[in-house]
């Protein structure tokens, strides 16, 4: 009796699991997968890709959101689980390649060139030219603090750093090249304490006064919303993070019509425009689909 029940439940589990397969699209095309990180710009770009591909081809795009970090997305692309993503050129310095293959540079062109060559070689990915916006690390402080102490650049912080609690994303403390340890070498001062934490919670921390500075991403509308100012990176320390659409080469060869759509996204959204779109999503709490559609229509990319 017990055995029957056990086999019955195992059968049920197997049945449910095999049920979760993929289907083809309504128009007889393929269903492609887009993977987005936890923050809003890749999610909005997912909608842009989805709506353009579905408008101009017979294919459909499914979006999976809130993948914890870009390396996981690259893994999924490598294994063919995802077909597209939005990645940032500085990702090329994120421990994917042997040190002798890659040269750290803060030059945007050199960075995206390396990303295009290396990701093509190792992961067989097509890294498109920049979408037009970038989203990089910056040191950000409350406006009031900046005005009272007349701060413009990161170097200006050196006098106050030893009393400052800084919030950063968890990886920043341990990163090579553009992480905290190299920051200390480059700028020549240390903060009192650097806490790794969830990006969205950093803003709560600085609004509540627990943090004195945070490593915000430049495109984030929470910077303005919380009356923060970005200090100029006067030593040119932070790596450039220009956003690009990334797609699997194999897919582009088989479906050139998709490649044409993705080509049209290159150089189409500026940093300012993206900040405005993220604001609609993060602050005004509208859906990414609605915001992307409105933008594409305004630009005449969608009817």
């Amino acid at each position: 009796m017990m055995k029957k029940i056990l086999f019955g439940s195992l059968f049920l589990i197997g049945f449910i699991l095999t049920g979760c397969g993929d289907d083809s699209s309504a128009d007889g095309g393929e269903v492609f997968q887009y993977g987005a990180q936890t923050y809003s710009d890749p999610k909005i770009m997912g909608q842009v890709v989805k709506q353009l591909v579905e408008d101009q081809t017979d294919h459909e795009v499914e979006i999976t959101e809130d993948i914890q970090a870009s390396p996981q997305i690259i893994n999924a692309l490598d294994q063919g689980e995802f077909d597209f993503a939005t990645l940032f050129s500085g990702e090329v310095y994120n421990n994917h390649f042997d040190e002798d293959k890659i040269e750290f540079s803060t030059d945007p062109q050199k960075t995206i060139d390396q990303a295009q060559t290396l990701f093509d070689e190792k992961f067989n990915l097509n890294w498109y030219d920049s979408i037009g916006f970038n989203n990089q690390y910056s040191i950000t402080v409350p406006e009031e603090f900046a005005t009272t102490h007349d701060l413009q650049t990161i170097s200006d912080l050196s006098e106050y750093a030893s009393d400052m609690e800084v919030g950063a994303d968890s990886a920043w403390k341990e990163r090579e090249n553009d992480g905290y340890r190299d920051f200390v070498d480059e700028y020549g001062y240390e903060f009192k304490n650097v806490r790794g934490m969830e990006i969205s919670l950093m803003y709560e921390g600085i609004a509540g006064g627990d943090l004195d500075a945070i490593t915000a991403y430049t495109v984030d509308p929470h910077i303005l919303e919380n009356n923060l100012v970005i200090l100029e990176d006067d030593q040119n320390f932070f790596a450039p993070y220009d956003a690009s659409i990334v797609a699997r080469n194999e897919l582009l060869e088989n479906y050139p019509e998709v490649s044409d759509v993705l080509d049209s996204i290159v150089d189409s959204i500026s940093t300012k425009e993206m900040t405005a779109l993220i604001r609609e999503v993060d602050i005004n709490e509208r859906s990414t689909a609605e915001v992307a559609e409105e933008f594409l229509k305004e630009k005449g990319m969608l009817e």
């Binding site: 990886a171 341990e174 919670l201 709560e204």
Partner: protein
């Protein structure tokens, strides 16, 4: 072999950082568990003597509610009240630890045969003597199993403390995920597992010792 030597090199390079994360992890989970035990064990014993069912149920329901809030949400909810870092992390974990400890201790004391209590009364034991000489020793396997499961849970949940800036081994794992470093992910995970196993083993031997007496 290269894998092993790479990993040894990683430890040599990072051992300061690794111990810092480990130390934070121990501090957060230890304090949360300790406070939770100190509150719940006496409270649960007191509750078994309580006549008022309404208060008793309310206490269980409150502890239950904390248990049902998703961990990551509870950490986030704490921030406006308690700021970031150590404090919200410890308090959130403390709240999570309440229910399993309360339930087990209560069930253990409740399950004692009324005859045993009656005979203790007959032998002239005072209420305090009954608690320390009869109830706690008899209920000990229940209490200890509550402490053991809770400890394992809390150590695992403490990895989420990194989200609110309290550090801990979760910080190492998240750094590894963000910076694409498998060594960091592996180290953070394995240390958390070891810590949970060691403490579980420790409490098991404490239980053995206490039962023998």
């Amino acid at each position: 072999m290269e894998l092993v030597s790479d990993y040894i090199e990683f430890w040599q390079e990072k051992n300061n950082v690794i111990w810092e994360y480990t130390y934070q992890h121990i501090a957060i989970s230890f304090i949360a568990i300790l406070f939770a035990i100190l509150l719940t064990v006496p409270l649960a014993i007191y509750m078994t003597k309580m006549k008022n069912n309404f208060i008793k149920n309310s206490i269980f329901n409150i502890a239950n509610v904390f248990q049902t809030i998703p961990t990551i949400a509870l950490f986030a909810i704490m921030i406006p009240f308690l700021g970031i870092g150590f404090k919200p992390a410890v308090i959130a974990l403390f709240l999570y630890a309440l229910l399993p400890l309360l339930r087990n201790t209560y069930a253990g004391v409740q399950a004692i045969e009324p005859d045993i209590i009656e005979s203790a009364k007959g032998m002239g034991y005072s209420p305090m003597q009954r608690i320390f000489k009869i109830e706690i020793p008899v209920a000990l396997p229940y209490i200890m199993s509550g402490i053991r499961t809770t400890t394992v849970y809390v150590i695992s949940w403490t990895t989420l403390a990194a989200v609110v800036g309290a550090g801990g081994l979760g910080g190492l794992v998240l750094s590894g995920i963000g910076f694409n470093d498998q060594h960091m992910i592996f180290t953070g995970t394995i240390l958390a597992i070891l810590m949970a196993l060691l403490l579980d083993f420790f409490f098991a031997s404490v239980e053995q010792k206490l039962l023998k007496r």
